[in-house]
């Protein structure tokens, strides 16, 4: 398959009073045409920064792409001029955000917010723009689209607003849709509907989706491939089924174990990964997950494991084999 987006050695940092702090540290991955890729990780793992880097929105938020390249349709987004990048945003690559409550401007109507994208990228007449906006609202399953155009965001429910966000993002038929935690702020039934909608639309419009989520259950639901991030690094990349059947990284394993199961025993405490992410100023020299890892050895603390192919997919762990075989029981080395 042909890659649509190819991120290579991306390093993104934020300017702070203590200098530049790397939020994403040397990551590489690709998204193929028509593929849905999920980036999974806990808060602070750098997954949102990755998506904002691809959109080059970090520039506006005190961040900076320090190194690496982002290839997209023969262009390197990392070094594109602001004006060229602007013409890609919202037309070739679109993005939807976590908070549908605050992601829409409260003082403009839904209609204006959908139609202004055409003003940025297309030269539609007023009539054509309106017609297209109605089409889009129908596409994302909003009833009475014509009346909705005149409404303001506060008149819609959370799920509806996220549908509107999706409609806005689809306006110019993007090749890549980046969805940053699109269902986190919604309740479970609405979440299922939105995920279903994303799946259908992807089929219909033949686009690729890069979905950012902290919920590995959501990732399992929609993705073809999963990228697991931890503390600004990619720790494992695998086709979705394989990631579940043949987990190679202890962090991924921990994530999977902490998902509640329907068949789980009652009264048993849900496993969780102990500890927290390392502070951004005190990154371990070796494996960044080592302080929280049950498989940790001296080597893990000293030398950072490279992201390598083990058993057919990528993982960054010195003990991938043991994790896969489950030969090491938890707690043995700690």
């Amino acid at each position: 398959m042909e890659p649509l987006l190819k991120v290579e050695n991306l390093v993104t940092g934020y300017r702070t009073e203590q200098g530049l702090v790397k939020a994403v540290d040397n990551i590489s991955f690709e998204v193929n045409k028509g593929e849905t890729v999920c980036i999974v990780g806990e808060s602070g793992s750098g997954k949102s920064v990755t998506s904002l880097s691809i959109m080059r929105l970090v520039d506006f938020e005190n961040g900076e792409i320090i190194d690496g390249s982002i290839h997209f349709q023969d262009k390197d987004l990392a070094s594109l001029s602001n004006e060229d990048m602007r013409s890609i945003r919202g037309s070739k690559i679109s993005m939807i955000f976590q908070e549908p409550m605050t992601a829409l401007n409260p003082v403009f109507t839904i209609g204006k917010q959908i139609m202004e994208t055409f003003y940025f990228h297309r030269s539609y007449s007023g009539k054509k723009a309106k017609q297209r906006a109605i089409e889009l609202l129908e596409l994302v399953g909003i009833n009475q689209p014509e009346e909705r155009l005149k409404q303001y965001p506060h008149e819609l429910s959370g799920g509806m607003r996220q549908r509107v966000m999706i409609a806005i993002a689809l306006g110019c038929e993007p090749d890549l849709l980046i969805a940053d935690e699109p269902t986190t702020a919604l309740d479970v039934t609405i979440e299922a509907q939105i995920l279903e909608l994303l799946k259908t639309i992807k089929q219909e419009m033949e686009m690729s989706i890069l979905l950012i989520t902290h919920d590995i259950g959501v990732a399992a639901e929609v993705s073809d491939r999963i990228i697991v991030m931890y503390a600004g690094k990619i720790v494992e990349v695998a086709p979705t089924i394989e990631l579940f059947s043949q987990t190679l990284h202890p962090y991924t394993k921990g994530l999977l174990e902490s998902v509640p199961k329907m068949s789980g025993e009652r009264g048993v405490e849900l496993p969780s990964i102990e500890g927290t992410l390392p502070g951004i100023h005190s990154m371990p020299i070796g494996c960044r997950f080592a302080p929280r890892c049950h498989y940790k050895t001296e080597k893990c603390v000293q030398v950072e494991p490279p992201l390598e192919n083990h058993y057919g997919h990528l993982a960054a762990c010195w003990h991938a084999e043991e994790v896969r075989n489950g030969t090491l029981e938890k707690g043995e080395t700690t």
């Binding site: 602007r86 403009f108 940025f120 506060h154």
Partner: protein, 317 residues
């Protein structure tokens, strides 16, 4: 809409009553009286005659009741000093004050918002610091001093601008725009200092808050030009609190007009109220106070109406 207006009307009447009571008693309890403003060589008998003639020998409460009785019919009495009807004296002065304050609002609001935006968007830059510095100076220097300094510079030293008046000759048959504006320039500038710094600072902080909102990121993600992001999406949100602060600043503008008009010999309401207060012209003081109160009430009503226009979350009144 009509219910809202009715409600507001009720509140306004109560407010007007309170203001009239306070003003009436304050001015009447202040030492001196219309007779004190007479010639120094007036005899005691002459003074007494004046007091009786003006009806000032009645108790204050009775006089207030009389004043209120005729005021509700639109009769604000006759000025002690010129014997003209109070309403007439006020009406003859209004156009000048309206001219001065409208130009000031126009100037202060447009430049205040513009400087506020520049200051917020270019935060930390030289321009931001310069704007902040000038705002603080504008806030802290008293208008009367600055006014005198401007007169000293532009009228006395350079001789570019007239030092006082409205330029009657430039308004009449030989109307000249430049002549007219030359009289208006300094008063408008001085009166602006009473509200412009506040508008700048308010716009700046409001704008800084808005540009960090999620919806601004959304607009950028849609591929909007930065100018569009700031002047369309951010500005409309940032203006909501600015509009309400402008409502609060309008009374300040009217009290500022008193000083500005006095410095520049501007024949408006502001200089009228000074004459009235100095001459203990009770009916005139009352009339002007009532007039200013009504203006403030109307301006606040307008602000609320504008407010509901720009913020759809405020229920349409």
């Amino acid at each position: 809409m009509s219910r809202f207006l009715l409600n507001r009307l009720g509140q306004s009447i109560v407010l007007l009553l309170i203001v009239s009571v306070i003003t009436f008693f304050l001015i009447n309890l202040a030492p001196g009286g219309p007779s004190a403003a007479m010639r120094m060589d007036a005899s005691e008998a002459e003074r007494q005659a004046i007091i009786t003639q003006l009806g000032l020998d009645e108790p204050v409460v009775v006089r207030y009741a009389q004043w209120l009785g005729s005021a509700v019919t639109g009769d604000f009495g006759v000025s002690f000093s010129t014997s003209e009807p109070v309403l007439e004296r006020i009406l003859s002065r209004i156009p000048y004050t309206i001219e001065l304050t409208l130009f000031t609002i126009l100037f202060a609001v447009s430049f205040g918002i513009l400087f506020g935006i520049i200051s917020a968007v270019k935060r930390g830059s030289l321009r931001d610091h310069a704007i902040n510095f000038i705002s603080v100076i504008g806030l802290s220097i008293p208008a009367f001093w600055l006014g005198l300094m401007l007169i000293l510079l532009f009228s006395v030293q350079l001789g570019w601008l007239p030092s006082s008046g409205v330029g009657a000759d430039a308004r009449g048959e030989n109307f000249s725009l430049l002549g007219w504006l030359s009289y208006l320039f300094m008063p408008v500038l001085i009166l602006s200092t009473t509200i412009l710094p506040n508008i700048v600072r308010f716009t700046r902080s409001s704008m800084l808050e808005v540009v960090n909102q999620n919806y601004i990121r959304t607009v950028r993600a849609k591929g909007a030009k930065e100018r569009y992001v700031i002047y369309v999406h951010a500005l409309k949100n940032a203006l909501i609190p600015v509009v309400s602060i402008i409502g609060v600043l309008i009374p300040r503008l009217l009290s500022g007009a008193v000083i500005t008009e006095a410095i520049f010999g501007w024949p408006g309401i502001g200089s009228l109220i000074i004459q009235a207060a100095q001459g203990r012209d009770y009916p005139l003081v009352m009339g002007v106070t009532m007039f200013v109160t009504i203006v403030v009430i109307v301006c606040n009503l307008l602000v609320d109406l504008v407010y509901s226009k720009i913020d759809p979350r405020v229920k349409n009144v």
